[in-house]
């Protein structure tokens, strides 16, 4: 064969710029929101910089009506009460001490008026009292704005948790918030100030993106309000902790996430941050303010080349999706379309966590050896895995397992999830590696096969059934 090597003919010289482009592409990354994220930004990376309000936030405790005093003693500066049953408000409500935020399915005009009566009975001016009486959907914005007239109460909530809990990405949440705001503004009488509106926003632990998301919301809201010729350009934000990655079986580890979420909420500029009934969560806010000094910095992200870039990217992407929703006639009309988009995001995310592609510490990797019997958090993507771990406690005979072949990281996770230990000598289950996965066999010769990378909860459930049948 006469085939000259002739390398240059096959592979021309590579320019530095080609290599640099490749490296840049290798290092860059795209979020689940489709936002391109370079690792490095420098001066001039973002044409637009933003400066938002000072972030003196109110520390808020989510409580039952019987827990008011302890929460105030623990330094809560406002209280959030969930009203899901018709309720008669106690005259002892501390309307003279701090803002109160009422929300829930049973919030109605009776509650609104009785709150106003309590305010008046304490000699306070209702126009000065701050807080929220957030009416549940469906709402006639004109109606709730009318009854709130003359007060500073927030009566209409744009609840991003609704979309978040369905699995929305940050961009989808932003777009839905914009669209919901636009729907409300379109229903209000022209010239009405939307000063009874607020946003309830779940905050996750992707700290840079979360800060950028809060700032992106402010940009779009400002544009929408101006487009409706509203007299104000901003709405208050109430930040709440995202429960998406919460494992009920490792509460201390989840406190790490909660701390990161609060940091993002504070730096991103939430006006109120709600802590759950857990006293420790309230203390996190005090620590961040008093010891971490996060409160003395106004919009610390201003100027950060990376966060400004992300802010603009998220705002632009959210705006584009919002424009699509608007082109379909607004959120009400586009609801099923956007919900189907969100479902796809949810499935993608859920699949990624349940297969172990994405790590959730204490949830699908690095599990605690022991745990208390807690109910899995329904809004968490970890809940199916928590349920499996709780099931391990109910199996009468646990025993151990041996692996013939390679124990991949995925199989190792599965073994941990089922609470099994590797033991070649006292194994009740033998797992054999095959060309496309594994076969697990118990000593009764019952067996199951499963693919590598399959959803851990489903596979673990089958494996545990095999163990149970061994035990019986």
């Amino acid at each position: 064969m006469n085939d000259p090597l002739d390398l240059l003919k096959h592979f021309p010289p590579i320019a530095d710029s080609d290599w640099q482009n490749l490296i840049s592409k290798d290092l860059s990354w795209q979020t689940i929101e489709g936002i391109n994220f370079q690792p490095y930004y420098r001066r001039g990376a973002s044409n637009l910089q933003h400066l938002f309000d000072q972030n003196d936030w109110l520390i808020c405790a989510q409580i039952q009506s019987t827990e008011i005093l302890p929460a105030l003693e623990d330094g809560a500066e406002s209280l959030s009460l969930l009203i899901d049953q018709p309720t008669t408000l106690s005259k002892e409500m501390p309307v003279d001490k701090c803002p109160l935020y009422f929300r829930g399915k049973a919030v109605d005009t009776n509650l609104f008026y009785s709150l106003c009566d309590i305010v008046k009975s304490k000699g306070l001016d209702p126009s000065e009292f701050q807080g929220a009486v957030a009416f549940p959907e469906p709402i006639e914005p004109d109606f709730v704005f009318e009854i709130a007239q003359g007060t500073r109460l927030w009566t209409h909530e744009i609840d991003l948790c609704h979309w978040h809990d369905k699995g929305a990405s940050l961009v989808q949440e932003i777009a839905c918030a914009f669209a919901q705001l636009s729907d409300i503004m379109a229903q209000l009488k022209p010239g009405t100030s939307p000063n009874h509106l607020y946003l309830r926003i779940p905050i996750g632990e992707r700290i840079l993106l979360e800060i950028a998301r809060l700032r992106a919301l402010k940009i779009g809201i400002s544009t929408i309000l101006q487009s409706y010729q509203a007299p104000i350009h901003c709405l208050p934000f109430m930040g709440v902790s995202s429960l998406r990655h919460k494992t009920a079986l490792d509460q201390d580890t989840h406190m790490i996430r909660t701390t990161l979420q609060y940091i993002a909420a504070i730096i991103g500029g939430c006006n109120v941050i709600v802590s759950s009934q857990n006293r420790n969560e309230l203390m996190i806010q005090h620590i961040l303010r008093n010891e971490g000094k996060l409160g003395i910095v106004s919009d610390a992200a201003t100027g950060s080349w990376m966060i400004e870039h992300l802010t603009n990217a998220l705002a632009e992407a959210g705006w584009a999706l919002f424009q699509q929703i608007e082109s379909l006639g607004g959120l009400q009309k586009a609801r099923s379309w956007i919900e189907s988009n969100i479902e796809q995001t949810h499935d993608q995310r859920s699949q990624s966590i349940l297969s172990g592609e994405e790590n959730i510490v204490g949830g699908n990797i690095f599990l605690a050896d022991t745990f208390q019997n807690e109910t899995p958090e329904g809004k968490s993507l970890i809940a199916p895995l928590d349920s499996i771990r709780l099931r391990t406690e109910t199996i009468r005979y646990k025993g151990n397992l041996t692996v013939q072949g390679r124990c991949s990281p995925w199989l190792y996770r599965l073994i941990n999830l089922c609470g099994l230990k590797m033991d070649d000598h006292q194994a009740m289950i033998t797992v054999i590696e095959t060309s496309d996965g594994y076969i697990a066999r118990n000593s009764n010769d019952q067996q199951i096969s499963f693919n590598h990378g399959a959803p851990l909860n489903v596979t673990a459930g089958r494996l545990m059934t095999l163990m149970e049948s061994h035990a019986t």
């Binding site: 990376a45 330094g75 544009t223 006293r279 420790n280 010891e291 100027g303 950060s304 990376m306």
Partner: protein, 704 residues
């Protein structure tokens, strides 16, 4: 009327507020700051002066190393702990040695029994080192060792243990702290005087440069200054000035700057002020590059500052310990955003005891969550450009530079330490901070505000001191029976000779002694016979605490009570503030001494490393009313009952004993039962403690 949003752009002219270039409204303290005046804004990562990180791609290529500092009890127990931590996601080992090991004593030495295995692992010989790394491949695992005083025998044990398991010195990765200067400033685990100590430091740098190219021969530590109370600019300046001193030492030995400077690493403490701390790490890199540049390195890496960080122990509280999860998370975030190369995160119970397996897991999870769930590893210096962060970087850089200039004007850090200036400066800052906390100007959650009414149940790790001591003594005895004593003595004599002649590298000689199974205590004693043992003498500073507290009601009351006592008895209340055992952490003791002097007490401050017999003798000779013992490393359970027995034996049970520091609640009954009159935990307001003590004295005067 619904607008047509398809034609409306996101940003409409006039809506989005433009940046106010003066920076006002950004930060209360940076009004009128002009960002454009910063000279550092265009600096990058991977290129001098490395403002944004020492490597070009930073965590995008490899995240920081999760390196948890741990060690307790015996080598067997610590080894088991390391193995489980590695299985649970830890990437590097960081060894904590117990205090006898730090101070160069074998576990069976008569002075050290209360401290064996308490604050770290007891390592007496190469046999212990073998056990410590059992089932851990030293060719693959990066090992960091916090050792300064007894650095020669520990390095010798490490190297020989590796060789005996088939790993050559050139394969070893990791770090030895070997930063003796800060020991004389704040940490106090020195053995020999400064000059021979610096010789040892230089010998180790030289040996590692020539034989261990993947090993960091010195980790210049600001952490301990941070813990002693130094604010960010001071920590930066003194750490870098120490680093500069080591560079000069190496250059004086004829080493080329590029042969060792790339292997110098740094170690910073990370406190609670998020933006200041992350800016501190950025400023550190610029300053180090600036300090090294005049040595004309050819390799840019010589100017790159690589660092390990540890979240602050000072910021942890014993009260409401779960609050510490939030503290450590914020501090870890700061270190990561400041682009550290490795990190230790404290466990929530570390203000009470050594971390348990469970709390160690939470501490490790803090870093795992930051790596796995925040996407921060995709970002290089994410706060670059932020007005606040750039302002703070600029300010800290310039402030620290002025401190460095001050040290240089004295003639460098060795001379500055001899003058006592850095230690005094740090103590002043610690006293002011304490006064601010005592006055409530600085809020510490769970301490001076938002106290919990219920106590939190945390299961603490307890080390059975007697069992460890028995185990170590048995192993030492076996070692001494099984080795060739004449060869050991020959090796130790050679070590003594080389130490006195200054013509050989002491690590070379220590390696021979380690191979012959000489113990840590024997090697240290051989050197001590030539170099002597260093004893520091420092008087407490005065006036700082009272200057900050002069209008405080509680302070005024304490002062008037001490006046009343003086009127009644003819002399002021006299207190001996003592450290007992080998615990050298004396920030708390020195702050107390400063404050008590300002509150009208006559204060005697005892030397460090005292036995119960020493403390009792000094208290009796000085005829004090009270002896205050500061205990932070767990030896109180053994040593304080011994002290009480000595007072009783000598007929001086009238001298009241109070105890402060880290005392777990479950130890209170033991101490009270032995005769201690008061125990003051972390968070005690000093003036209140002083009042309580004087009232007890007054009560004794009225009802003797």
């Amino acid at each position: 009327m619904r607008p047509d949003f398809s034609s409306i752009p996101l940003i409409r002219r006039g809506i989005t507020p433009n940046i106010d270039r003066s920076g006002s409204n950004l930060l209360r303290t940076c009004d009128h700051f002009d960002l454009e005046s910063c000279e550092h804004l265009d600096y990058s990562a991977g290129l001098p002066p490395f403002l944004r990180g020492p490597y070009p791609s930073m965590y995008a290529e490899r995240p920081w190393t999760i390196r948890q500092y741990a060690g307790f009890s015996t080598a067997e127990e610590s080894n088991a702990f390391y193995l489980s931590a590695i299985a649970a996601g830890q990437c590097g080992i960081s060894v904590a040695f117990d205090l006898p090991t730090h101070r160069g004593y074998d576990s069976d030495h008569s002075l050290v029994h209360g401290d064996v295995g308490q604050a770290g692992v007891a390592i007496d010989s190469i046999e212990d080192m073998h056990i410590l790394f059992n089932h851990i491949s030293l060719a693959d695992m990066s090992v960091s060792m916090t050792m300064n005083g007894a650095v020669l025998p520990i390095m010798a044990f490490f190297i020989v243990a590796a060789q005996e398991s088939g790993v050559m010195p050139q394969q070893l990765r990791g770090t030895i702290q070997n930063d003796i200067l800060k020991e004389f400033m704040v940490r106090n685990t020195y053995i020999y005087p400064p000059q021979p100590s610096m010789r040892i430091t230089g010998d180790i740098i030289q040996w590692c440069t020539e034989n261990m190219p993947r090993f960091n021969p010195v980790s210049v530590s600001g952490y301990h200054m941070h813990e002693a109370g130094a604010p960010a600019a001071m920590e930066l300046a003194y750490t870098l000035a120490n680093g500069l001193e080591y560079v000069r030492t190496a250059i004086d030995r004829g080493l080329d700057i590029d042969s060792f400077a790339p292997r110098i690493s740094f170690f910073f403490g990370i406190g609670m002020n998020y933006f200041i701390e992350l800016s501190k790490l950025r400023a550190a890199r610029i300053l180090w590059a600036r300090l090294i540049k005049p040595f004309e390195p050819k390799n840019p890496k010589s100017m790159a500052l690589r660092m390990h960080c540890q979240t602050s122990g000072y910021s942890l509280t014993a009260q409401d310990p779960r609050n510490n999860i939030a503290r450590t998370t914020l501090e870890a975030l700061s270190a990561v955003c400041g682009q550290t190369q490795s990190l230790h995160t404290n466990a929530l119970d570390e203000a009470l005891a050594l971390p348990s397996a469970d709390t160690s897991r939470i501490a490790r999870n803090t870093q795992l969550i930051l790596q796995e769930e925040t996407e921060l590893t995709r970002a290089i210096d994410p706060w670059g450009g932020s007005y606040v962060v750039e302002y703070l970087t600029h300010t800290l850089t310039h402030h620290a530079w002025s401190y460095i200039q001050e040290i240089e004007s004295i003639g460098g850090m060795t001379k500055a330490i001899a003058s006592g200036l850095p230690k005094m400066r740090i103590e002043e800052e610690a006293a002011v901070k304490q006064a601010n906390i005592d006055q409530g100007k600085e809020i510490i959650v769970g301490i001076n505000s938002f106290q919990s009414k219920s106590s939190s149940e945390i299961r603490l790790l307890r080390v059975d001191n007697r069992e460890v001591l028995a185990n170590q003594s048995k192993r030492l005895s076996h070692l001494k029976q099984s080795r060739d004593s004449s060869k050991v003595e020959q090796a130790l004599e050679h070590l003594r000779k080389c130490a006195s002649q200054d013509n050989a590298n002491l690590l070379d000689v220590a390696l021979i002694a380690a191979k012959e199974r000489a113990t840590l205590g024997e090697i240290s004693a051989a050197l001590e016979s030539v170099f002597g043992r260093y004893h520091a003498q420092h008087e407490p500073i005065t006036g700082v605490y009272s200057a900050t507290m002069e209008t405080d009601e509680c302070t005024v009351k304490a002062q008037s009570l001490s006046d009343e006592f003086a009127k009644l008895t003819g002399r002021r209340p006299r207190i001996l503030i003592a450290k007992i055992g080998l615990d050298g952490h004396d920030r708390g003791a020195r702050v107390i001494a400063t404050a008590f002097a300002d509150l009208g007490f006559d204060v005697d401050i005892g030397p460090l490393f005292q036995t119960p017999e020493d403390v009792a003798r000094q208290a009796i000779e000085n005829d004090v009313h009270i002896t205050g013992i500061s205990s932070l490393a767990g030896a109180h359970r053994t040593l304080i009952p011994e002290l009480m027995n000595i007072f009783q034996r000598d007929g001086r049970s009238d001298i009241k004993v109070v105890v402060g520091g880290i005392i777990p609640n479950e130890d209170y009954p033991l101490l009270y039962h032995s005769g201690v009159v008061s125990i003051f935990g972390p968070g005690t307001v000093i003036a209140e403690a002083a009042q309580k003590i004087i009232n007890q004295l007054l009560d004794h005067v009225s009802h003797p």
